[in-house]
């Protein structure tokens, strides 16, 4: 569960990025966060990952109160969150398998578990045949699926996807969101930040629109895929 209670954030240079945000995202929800550049979406994500601490109010993520959290507890919080970025952030000199396994290795998971879990998650994103390939040999859509597998591999409660379709061609964008939807149906909360309104209109669901640091719209809309 994610909760923002009266959250404001002002950067050290005085620029206010978020102002009195109140939000609650329940477990198992799928939420689109939309908004123009500079609206405060990135700040929102940084607050969720505890890269930044709210200057006012409280941020609660998966039972952690991020406003009072000690620095040394941050890794624990992040192990409950999977993150997917627009630029994939894969390690170029590691194979698909190693990129996914990396997320488990760094949290000191047992080798046996890694050997069983990684191929399973790679199969979920449909890349079993490419497990030994390097990121540069893959298309944008495939790279993003590797990033998704990496986010998924340690079974997070929440997946934050920061414009995951930004570097992917339109047809593949729908596949990525389909995958996120499938993950969500398995019980993982998904928060997807996007600029692509066609995707939002197509899939529908809860839409949160942020503008100049405030939530200006928070409604559930019906999607075109449901009409089919």
């Amino acid at each position: 569960m994610v909760e923002f209670r009266n959250v404001s954030y002002t950067y050290p240079n005085g620029q206010q990025a978020l102002s009195r945000i109140n939000l609650k995202i329940e477990d198992d929800e799928f939420v689109f966060v939309v908004g123009a550049n500079g609206a405060g979406k990135s700040t929102l994500i940084k607050l969720l990952l505890r890269e930044l601490t709210a200057t006012e109010g409280e941020v609660i993520v998966n039972g952690f109160n991020l406003s009072t959290m000690k620095q040394r507890k941050i890794p624990k919080l992040r192990r409950t969150i999977g993150v997917v970025f627009q630029d994939f952030r894969l390690i170029p000199n590691m194979t698909v398998y190693d990129n996914v396994a990396f997320a488990l290795r760094v949290i000191d998971a047992p080798t046996k578990y890694i050997r069983a879990r990684v191929p399973y998650v790679i199969s979920l994103v449909g890349l079993t045949q490419k497990a030994k390939s390097y990121p540069n040999d893959l298309s944008g859509g495939e790279q993003q699926r590797v990033a998704l597998a990496r986010a998924l591999v340690n079974d997070p409660q929440l997946i934050i996807a920061d414009e995951p379709t930004g570097n992917v061609d339109p047809a593949r964008s729908f596949e990525i969101v389909d995958l996120l939807k499938a993950i969500n149906e398995c019980g993982t909360t998904v928060l997807m930040v996007t600029h692509q309104h066609d995707l939002v209109r197509y899939f529908g669901g809860r839409i949160i629109n942020i503008n100049t640091g405030a939530v200006v719209f928070d409604e559930v809309i019906g999607g075109a895929d449901e009409a089919k």
Binding site: L49, P75, L77, V83, R89, V106
Partner: protein, 302 residues
């Protein structure tokens, strides 16, 4: 931490060394040179101390025994002198030996002239003592003066203060060089770590996002630093061994050096090889590993 994870991190450290091989090589060279300079400066300092010590030991303090002191009291005085912690050698030099010694330096005419005027030996019995620490000479002289049956004490006080001064200046100079080189090493390690962190920023940022602990992120850098430290100290030790032995050989063939300072003036490498090796290893490891950890914390901000 699991053994497999530890192995993985160590492997990552070695991979990092290879990945940043130009930087690693530069760090290795600079740390080796710094270690060499510190090592050489310490060894030179040891040798200078040893040389000064050799000169100090040649200095004799003459304790003139009161005329007419009974033999058993002379012996007692000898024992008292030997008990002084700063005295390592006590030799009795009788008035007859002194006279014989004086006559050895005279011509036959002088001897005849001397014998015609002086019938009784006018020279006193003396003890000639050598002190361990010349910087405490005046204190030791005072202690001797307070002993019974001592008429006077003759000591080379000026010479002692010059030697002590030289030794102090050397100690300060070499300490300053050592401290300066340690600082240089830290700066270089810090820069090298920064470059290494920069080269792996993508991996580090992913590690952070997936919840890697601080130590997990730092260990590969620590391994890198450790390996550089160990290899540097090995190279520095080898070079020191070679250079020191060659210089020792050169000086051994030059009779003047030994005639000035004595045979034990230069310490043979064999007698300090183990200590030097261990010091290099400890210094290299501490410097590189601690330097890496400190600068990793600074540059990683994890």
């Amino acid at each position: 931490m699991r053994l497999n994870s530890f192995k993985y991190l160590v492997k990552q450290g070695f991979a990092g060394l290879w990945f940043n091989r130009v930087n690693s090589f530069a760090s290795l060279c600079v740390i080796t040179i710094s270690l060499l300079m510190v090592g050489i400066s310490v060894l030179v300092s040891f040798n200078i101390t040893q040389m000064i010590g050799a000169i100090e030991k040649r200095n004799e303090v003459m304790v003139v025994i009161l005329d007419g002191t009974p033999d058993n009291n002379v012996d007692l005085l000898g024992e008292q002198l030997a008990q002084n912690p700063n005295i390592f050698e006590v030799n009795f030099y009788s008035r007859d030996e002194a006279l014989a010694g004086m006559q050895e330096t005279m011509t036959e005419d002088e001897k005849a002239y001397f014998a015609s005027y002086i019938h009784n030996n006018p020279l006193p019995d003396t003890y000639r003592v050598r002190v361990t620490d010349i910087s405490k000479l005046s204190e030791t002289v005072k202690q001797i003066q307070q002993l019974e049956f001592v008429e006077s004490v003759q000591a080379p006080n000026d010479f002692a203060s010059i030697l002590t001064g030289i030794r102090n200046v050397c100690a300060i100079l070499f300490s300053a060089i050592t401290v300066a080189l340690i600082i240089v090493c830290f700066v270089i390690i810090s820069n090298s770590t920064r470059a290494s962190v920069y080269a792996r920023r993508r991996e580090i940022s992913i590690m952070r996002y997936v919840g890697a602990s601080k130590s997990f992120i730092e260990i590969p850098f620590f391994v890198e630093g450790l390996v550089i430290g160990i290899v540097s100290s090995g190279i520095a030790f080898g070079l020191t061994w070679f250079a020191y032995t060659e210089i020792f050989k050169m000086l051994s063939t030059d009779a003047n050096v030994f005639s000035i300072f004595g045979l034990s003036a230069i310490i043979p490498f064999e007698s300090i090889a183990l200590k030097t090796g261990l010091a290099y290893l400890a210094f290299g490891i501490v410097l590189s590993a601690v330097g890496t950890v400190v600068s990793t914390r600074k540059h990683l901000n994890v």
